[in-house]
């Protein structure tokens, strides 16, 4: 047991596990603004960071939370912020510039579903940038990936986003927080601490392409090009899990908590003799296009489905991976609970299984129980335009 770790197999909610894993990874600063279902992440940081020698600020807004993390990172500390996708929308300007400043930010998105896939992988901010996006399927994996997030952020000097959700944040699991070992990284000689002020060689951490007078600088165009150079290199961090694809006729792609439901449903279906496999992207960026391509290219594969709780976002990446080898069908949908914070009726193993089976048998997707009356009728002029 470490100062931040726990005795073997302690029952705790996902938010606390992620926070304890962050502190085990050396995170010493956090700033956030409460928002469901992210709030508990802030609460646990506020409770646990001071005893670990760190600081947690209940920021007055998301704009300020990300700014505070920015400042802490510039001193060389491991630091993080987070929110839901809604709150992260407010942080996007800073996300763009923090990436240009090459600061190793870790950001939590305790998302209200999977509708933030584009925000996470395409970026809601301006300019050319990419964030490595890790999407754990459960608390146990989250504990590992959050530690990996801090390592990768430092390794690439690039933000890493942890894409969680309501289930990850609130599910209680009996787990052990073990501090993971990672390869050594070079010292952060770029950090500013005031120690070089007045030496003639003061430093600066800046998203701009300028440096201190007399020191070499990239220029703005050079800065953009340098960041662009890093992107294909970071693609080597791709992580993916796949199963039962060797003999599969149908392959389903899913990520995060819903992927765990998909895997369980497929296990049931395989027990019934249905040859179905899955691909689970663990990194949403870089997306495992090659793994999807290889899975779809299996000699027995006839079709690929994308299951996600959105109107269809990841399906774009699935199509890029499949590259026209077989048809790709979107079998997910918009689905939240009545509050809009949690998971809706689509995230139910029986429902997931029936949709996968319908895809597999090339039938129309069944109506989700409880959504029978959801016949949304658009205004006449829009229906006319659609005809």
């Amino acid at each position: 047991m470490t100062a931040t770790g726990t005795p073997a197999r302690t029952l705790m909610e996902g938010s606390e596990a992620l926070v304890r894993a962050s502190i085990a990874a050396g995170c010493r600063f956090f700033a956030g603004y409460p928002m469901t279902p992210f709030t508990e992440v802030l609460e646990h940081f506020a409770r646990l960071l001071p005893d670990a020698g760190g600081a947690c600020v209940n920021a007055e807004s998301e704009l300020e939370a990300v700014g505070m993390a920015w400042g802490a990172l510039a001193t060389g500390a491991r630091a993080a912020t987070g929110s839901t996708g809604q709150g992260l929308s407010l942080m996007q300007e800073s996300f763009s510039e923090i990436t240009l400043a090459e600061l190793p930010l870790v950001a939590f998105n305790m998302a209200r579903g999977q509708q933030d896939y584009f925000q996470a992988t395409r970026g809601g901010g301006h300019g050319d940038y990419r964030h490595i996006v890790l999407a754990p399927q459960d608390v146990r994996e989250g504990v590992e990936l959050v530690q990996l997030a801090f390592f990768l952020a430092d390794k690439w000097r690039n933000p890493v986003l942890l894409y969680g959700d309501y289930l990850l944040a609130h599910t209680q699991e009996a787990i052990t927080i073990e501090t993971l070992e990672f390869p050594d990284l070079p010292p952060k000689t770029w950090a500013v601490t005031g120690a070089r002020s007045g030496s003639g060689w003061s430093g600066s951490v800046t998203p701009l392409g300028v440096g201190k007078h007399g020191q070499p600088a990239l220029g703005q165009e050079g800065k953009f090009q340098y960041i662009a150079t890093k992107m294909p290199m970071m693609e080597r961090e791709v992580r993916v899990e796949s199963g039962w694809c060797d003999d599969a006729e149908t392959v389903v792609v899913a990520f995060g908590s819903p992927a765990k439901f998909v895997k369980y449903a497929i296990k049931q279906l395989r027990a019934g003799g249905h040859r179905i496999g899955y691909v689970r992207p663990i990194t949403l960026w870089p997306f495992p296009h090659d793994a999807v391509r290889d899975a779809a290219g299996g000699t027995s594969v006839r079709r690929v489905g994308s299951f996600e709780l959105s109107a269809g976002q990841m399906v774009d990446d699935v199509r890029i991976g499949v590259a026209g080898q077989v048809p790709v069908t979107f079998i997910g949908g918009v689905s939240t609970d009545h509050s809009g914070f949690g998971m809706g009726r689509l995230l139910d193993v029986d429902v997931v299984r029936e949709r996968i089976l319908a895809l597999h048998e090339e039938r129309e997707l069944p109506v989700v129980p409880g959504y029978e009356t959801n016949g949304y009728r658009l205004p006449e002029h829009q229906q006319e335009a659609a005809r």
């Binding site: 505070m68 920015w70 400042g71 802490a72 005031g194 002020s197 007045g198 007078h213």
Partner: protein
């Protein structure tokens, strides 16, 4: 009614060295990497930057200072001040400074922002940071105009001020009223020291340096929030001849944003108090000038 002290004689013609001139301060302070700057002729910002750099050096805290700089004309000083520095987004410097200070409690952290940066884009940042009592110093270079974009109205532009986005002059009914940010910050319990200086004449520069000194001392000794606003000339953004900058500033911004220490040791000083102090200073200056010159 007089706002800020103004009559210190005419603006010096520096096209050639005045007779009898002698160097009393080094041309380049130690904390500047180069004497060159990218500001327009007549700009007040280099004077303000020099003032706080001199104070940091005098206090002996330069080697533990970290600057957090916003976006405006003054951003170019990020490359020339010999201070470890974090470049922030427009408006966001106080939060970035908060993160720096929380990780480096023994450092001296200050922001450098303009009125567009601090009072327009990032007003909540400076207010929250002050209310939180964060042990940083926020420095505002207030010229009442967006200088970098070429002369547009900011939240501190005074009524009647002509800008490219208030061509007929700022009109209260149409554009609203200016924000007196120093006064606003002084009302927050978390703010320990708040002052408004100016660089439109030599006396004001000297007075502003004292304000910077007290502000940094407040950060170091009281571990509390301090704020220094400096009125700076922007003849380019005001569309006035370069040499008219100081006089224009005195007559316009200076009549609204009143110079002085707005909050000292937790006590807020009223605008009337500040005006009275400034009038007394002016009388002393006038008396000295009448005797043939300023006292040493």
């Amino acid at each position: 009614m007089t706002g800020n002290p103004g009559s210190l004689g005419p603006v010096l013609d520096t096209s050639s060295a005045p007779t009898g001139a002698r160097v009393v301060e080094p041309l380049k302070p130690d904390l500047l990497l180069t004497q060159e700057h990218q500001m327009c002729p007549g700009c007040g910002e280099p004077l303000a930057v020099r003032a706080f750099l001199d104070v940091l050096a005098d206090l002996g805290v330069a080697q533990r200072s970290v600057a957090v700089v916003g976006i405006g004309c003054y951003t170019s000083f990020a490359g020339t001040i010999d201070v470890d520095l974090v470049q922030a987004l427009h408006g966001r410097a106080p939060s970035v400074a908060t993160g720096v200070k929380r990780m480096l409690p023994g450092s001296v952290v200050f922001t450098l922002q303009g009125d567009g940066d601090m009072v327009n884009e990032g007003l909540q940042e400076v207010l929250h940071t002050a209310a939180r009592g964060e042990a940083v110093t926020c420095i505002l270079l207030n010229n009442g105009v967006f200088g970098e974009t070429g002369g547009h109205m900011t939240a501190t532009s005074v009524l009647g001020q002509r800008t490219k986005s208030s061509l007929g002059g700022r009109d209260a009914g149409y554009h609203g009223y200016p924000i007196l940010i120093g006064d606003l910050v002084s009302r927050l319990d978390g703010a320990a020291y708040v002052a408004r200086g100016s660089v439109h004449n030599a006396g004001s520069v000297a007075r502003t340096k004292k304000m910077f000194r007290r502000a940094f001392e407040t950060q170091v000794e009281q571990r509390a929030f301090s704020f220094v606003e400096v009125l700076t000339m922007c003849p380019t953004g005001w569309f006035v001849p370069t040499a008219d900058g100081p006089g224009y500033m005195h007559d316009t911004l200076g009549e609204v944003h009143i110079m002085g220490e707005l909050k000292v040791d937790g006590r807020v000083r009223t605008t009337d108090e500040l005006r009275a102090e400034n009038e007394q200073r002016q009388r002393e200056i006038d008396a000295q000038l009448a005797r043939g010159g300023l006292d040493p």
